[in-house]
Amino acid sequence: MTFDVATIRKDFPVLHRLVNDKPLVYLDSANTSQKPQVVIDALSTFMETGYAPINRSAYQLAAEATDAFEATRSALATFINAPKANEVVFTKNATEALNLVIMSWGRANLKAGDAVLLTHMEHHANIVPWHMLVAERGIQLRWVPLTSDGQLDLTNLDELLKDVKAFSFTSMSNVLGTINPVQRLCVAAHKAGAIAIVDACQSVPHQPTDVQAWGADFAVFSSHKMCGPSGVGVLWGRESLLEAMPPYLGGGNMIADVRLDGFTTAEVPAKFEAGTPAIAEIVALKSAVKYLTDLGMNNIRQHEIELSTYVLNTLTSRFGDDITIHGPTNPELRGATFSFAFRGIHPHDLSQVLDQTNVCVRAGHHCAKPLMRILGANATVRASFYLYNTTQEADALADALDSASDIF
């Protein structure tokens, strides 16, 4: 099929909203994505006709809800080519999924002096829980540095990986757009005897994902960035690792038995799913998975490469040295997420001016303060494109940037 953005845009009601009589130019999908009608319908239909508790009641309504809930787990396993559906664990967001792995696997496997390797382009969610484990366990952190064009500098990777127990890294930078060589990094980690944890939040919505081809041990991502509802994070992990790990949160649903003197855990994935989850949101996530699958993840990736090419050409040809775009200049090496500095205008001021023409971008540190310090900035403006964005919207961004110069 051909990828027809005009048709795709019809699927997203919010994109047709006028704000102050002007169209919306939504360029903040790395933050959170908009929702197609099929997902909105799935959510409301389930609320209207199918809502019930899961896993604990015998009546037909509850059995149907449980089936719908589990169908999303199976759909996600297929979507990321996980060997087994029970390797997919639902959390409340990707941050919680990372915390689950770091705290559960980390506490069971790391002792004082053990090393963990991270990179300079990680999101706070893949930094702070490790810092917490440093304080709790006395582990040490090492960091893969960056090249000048915002790629991982892998020159000394084997050296850095020496005696490392876990290598935890992003598949795509939420600031630089850099797409990392996940498979190569997993191979290097395993060669050094480390496990590989992939923060896949930024790549899963935008390109095909195959956790088996990656050779990863854990991967996390979020529903809300891939056209699904918010309130749902996904952890995929190898069954053998998940089975060996202690539970993270304790409570209902995660137990086989509870006695006055202790408890035994349920099988995975229930072991890691304490309490009532976001039932309706998880049910509706299946429609997002189907929507993306029907469009074709390769087609989405191709569309974003074309958009990236256009954005890079437009911004550099119109503004030259007045704009500094961080990250790789080759669209094949990056996603359509662009952080930049423009004519010395503070990002907060810039985003305010862009808002005058409904150009929605993020201004700030993007939950990556260590990376911002390396870039020498307190903040950047970030424009991030997705499957529903157009080259005309890239032009609207450039026009809005031009108007900012008149004020400052």
Partner: protein, 148 residues
Amino acid sequence: MAGLEDLYREIILDHYRTPRNRGELEAPAVSAEGHNPLCGDEIRIFIDVKDGLVSEVRFNGSGCSISQSSASMMTTAVKGKPVDQVRAIVKRFKQMMTIDEDDNSAIDESINLGDLEALQGVVKFPVRIKCATLGWNTLLDALAESGK
């Protein structure tokens, strides 16, 4: 919708382009640091309190036009004033910046905010209120530091 002219008044941009009292003060002056965790803005306020007067005030750091100009205008408003009066000006300014309808505390009409009135438009852009008040809250921290 509030227009940008409500936010970026000429006097604000003037203080942004040409900040007053920018720099540092040596001890025995004290300082405090403020952060806006949402946008990464950082500011440090230095004050020298002598005989109950804020005799000198400086600021440095980096941030958007609103946080920087507000800090600059603040320094000109409080420099040389008694500590009690400085606290009253801070209170008056924060009242102007508030969108809290439950705040019924009396507004001290005797305090003339002067150029600072230009920042009133910020209230129409609620996400920017924290930018405008960053330097002022940090000044309160510095005053607390000087009272130790």
